[in-house]
């Protein structure tokens, strides 16, 4: 459904961030996009959702298509109407508004089905039911993340993009968020998951992309990535026989990644 082809993005007419990036999300899939900070993951997201303008970025080459239609020239609200909803990094909920009001803003582009969507969100996140009238800023980090996802779901998207949903969350909450992503996917929404936590992401993704310095350096079904020696070493922290190596044993000089050669 979503296809990004040969995308090139320049900031401020000077800084080239994406250098011919291509990726694809198929119907019903969870796709993970992994990569170091600064690799261009967030820029990719902005290019897809039309937010580049706010950051003085321009698409200089390539296309973004949703179900075969070009969306890279559309403005953000049109893209949301086309069925792509996103959860920004750092959650960005409206801290001064109540939980309910936050959710209502999410339904802005899709008022017709808002009742069903609201019920769906409440079923997915029972914890929010009890806090509907509370001011969002007072929710805990995990609850805020759930609210942010819930708000995106209010638009009833066909594709949900999540930017680092596990950031700064306790281990138990990460597990919860992961389960919810799987639930959402099973209800028929495709998911593009941008994550640092490769273990979590690859454990639920159907397909994965690994990104470095503005390009995809490796991609494949999750199983293939999980089995790759480099991915294991650089993204999963495994070595040898699938043992996690201790951080105490990290070496100063590491082996060069094979995909760079």
């Amino acid at each position: 459904m979503l296809a990004v082809a040969n995308l090139e993005v320049v900031y401020n007419d000077v800084v080239l961030v994406l250098r011919g990036l291509s990726l694809e999300v198929r119907d019903g899939q969870i796709v993970a996009l992994l990569g170091a900070n600064g690799a261009g993951k967030t820029t990719t997201l902005r290019a897809i959702t039309g937010l580049l303008d706010f950051h003085a970025g321009d698409i200089t080459k390539g296309t973004v298509t949703l179900d075969g239609e070009r969306i890279d020239k559309r403005d953000p609200s049109a893209i949301v109407r086309a069925g792509i909803a996103q959860v920004l990094e750092g959650r960005r909920i409206f801290a001064e508004m109540t939980v309910d009001d936050n959710l209502r803003t999410g339904a802005y582009t899709n008022r017709s089905g808002s009742k069903e969507n609201y019920d769906r969100v409440m079923t997915l996140f029972p914890v929010l039911t009890g806090r509907r009238k509370d001011t969002a800023g007072y929710l805990s980090g995990g609850e805020q993340q759930m609210l942010a996802i819930g708000r995106a779901l209010m638009a009833d998207p066909t594709l949900l993009i999540l930017d680092e949903p596990s950031l700064g969350l306790a281990p138990m909450l990460i597990q919860q968020i992961r389960d919810i992503i799987v639930d959402i996917n099973q209800q028929g929404t495709s998911v593009l998951l941008i994550e640092q936590n490769a273990v979590m992401a690859l454990s639920i993704a159907d397909y994965g992309y690994i990104m470095e310095t503005g390009k995809i350096v490796m991609d494949g079904v999750s199983g293939k990535l999980l089995a790759d020696e480099d991915v294991q070493e650089f993204y999963l922290g495994l070595h040898g026989e699938g043992e996690r190596k201790s951080f105490r044993d990290v070496k100063h000089y590491k082996r060069r990644k094979r995909w760079l050669s």
Partner: protein
């Protein structure tokens, strides 16, 4: 006053004084408008110890840091630094005692360059008056050069040479985290508070950060309090771990003990990590 250029190790040498613990939290309670953030929290940190604080979001870890920094003043209890109470001391004075910190959501000075940010860390270790700098007199000049040398050593240590002259707002997240560490180290602290130093980092970056933390401890002998959700990192490198939940201490001990503590598993770690 001039600071001779020398290795970082020499800079960090200090006299040994008589005290039981480097830092002590003694029954500290803090609440905001009736909401309890810390409830009778007690712990201590010793010289050259790497102490970790973990717990669910909102358990009070950052509040404990803020009390320690003097940003918040606890309603009850006492905080002692080298045996002496530091309650009611201003944040900048506490910094001068030798307590440095990094922040959960990076608090670098966004419009200043990497060099300027790190050099700012030298603020408490320098004292030429402002007019000396304004007129660019010898003392100020010597101080600037010493600061620069010191900052460059840290830049070397943290491997951020190529970013030196960039305003930090333009840098990738992982690099910003390193700059923040550098800025704290420039203060020549005796105790370093690390608030989620690897949040939002991938494994590779986490490994780098782990290495820096271990190096700093090994080479500079700085005590540290680490807060993070990355259990792999915390359990691997901490000497002792304290677990907070709703502002209360539910367990303190060496990592292996804490990891198996049923309350900790229930409140924080969840089932999965237990089985691993």
């Amino acid at each position: 006053m001039t600071i001779p250029r020398s290795t970082l190790q020499a800079e960090f040498e200090r006299t040994v004084e008589e005290y039981e613990h480097l830092l002590e939290f003694d029954d500290v309670s803090l609440s905001f408008a009736g909401v309890t953030a810390l409830d009778e929290v007690s712990f201590s940190v010793d010289d050259n110890e790497l102490f970790a604080m973990i717990g669910p979001n909102g358990a009070g870890k950052t509040s404990a840091f803020n009390c320690l920094n003097g940003v918040y003043k606890p309603q009850e209890g006492d905080i002692r630094w080298k045996g002496e109470s530091i309650l009611g001391t201003r944040p900048d004075q506490i910094a001068e005692l030798g307590i440095a910190r990094t922040f959960q959501n990076i608090e670098l000075f966004p419009h200043m360059t990497v060099l300027e940010n790190i050099t700012l860390g030298r603020h408490i270790r320098t004292d030429t008056p402002w007019w000396n700098g304004a007129l660019w007199l010898g003392a100020a000049r010597a101080e600037e050069m010493a600061n620069r040398a010191f900052a460059e050593d840290l830049i070397d240590l943290l491997e951020i040479e190529q970013w030196r002259a960039y305003p930090v707002a333009l840098l990738p997240y992982g690099i910003q985290k390193r700059v923040e560490l550098g800025r704290a180290l420039a203060m020549e602290p005796e105790l370093l508070l690390l608030d989620e130093p690897v949040a939002g980092m991938n494994l590779e970056e986490t490994e780098d950060m782990a290495r820096f933390i271990l190096d700093i401890r090994e080479e500079l002998g700085i005590s540290m309090i680490l807060v993070d959700h990355d259990m792999g990192l915390v359990m691997d490198i901490a000497d002792r771990v304290m677990v907070l939940d709703f502002g209360r201490v539910i367990a303190t001990g060496v990592p292996t003990e804490v990891q198996r503590h049923p309350d900790v598993i229930r409140a924080y770690l969840g089932a999965e990590l237990e089985s691993e």
